[in-house]
Symmetry: C2
Subunit: 119 residues, 2 copies
């Protein structure tokens, strides 16, 4: 039964540093994201994985629950990453944090910036 009012979802917006080899490996990122989507019971409705000449890549995954995006910069040893899940049918707040924490662990990352926005 749909909610009668909009329930804001959590959006985590971050920047992290990570090993260069992972920031160049879009296949690794895809396996990581696909695994997390499955484990957390999310539903993918489309995606873009695009590699750049300098070795970085952009991945954007559209979910029924909203989206995940990462832009990697191996030349700077860092990435911008965000995950946003609406809470339309269920409160997905903890799933956002779980996705974020698992991505940080998967990238062996050091988070340099992390903001939580309810929207």
């Amino acid at each position: 039964m749909p909610q009668s009012i909009y329930k804001p979802g959590l959006h985590i917006v971050s920047t992290f540093s990570a090993p260069v080899e992972l920031l160049r490996d879009a296949v690794y990122c895809r396996e990581l994201f696909d695994g997390l989507i499955g484990e957390l019971g999310l539903v993918k409705v489309g995606e873009v994985y695009h590699s750049f000449p300098q070795g970085g890549y952009t991945a954007i995954v559209a979910l029924t629950e909203s989206h995940v995006s990462i832009h990697t910069w191996p030349e700077f040893g860092m990435a911008t990453f965000d995950v946003f899940l609406s809470s339309f049918m269920n409160d997905n707040t903890e799933k956002v944090r779980a996705f974020f924490d698992a991505t940080v662990a998967g990238f062996r990352a050091t988070v340099t910036n992390r903001q939580e926005i309810m929207r």
Copy 2:
């Protein structure tokens, strides 16, 4: 010549209300976004447009400069919208604000939340 240090880009994260007919019209959104991408000299590298059974849609456009995303909720008369452009080769800060302002105008929207994040 690439920069030797990472230059943060501007990410605007927002929520707005808008007329229901525009929140249901993914074709309109695509024309609006494609027009803005052209006018601002941005480069699209992939996109997802996905319509949901209840009439809303998700659009995510991957750019060489980062991404644009919108999730519409016609049943609530609102959308979550964000635009993020890195400033890798050029300072794209004003292009982010121009994209945001033109999207708000194009959707005849009332912005209920808007945050600027440098990342």
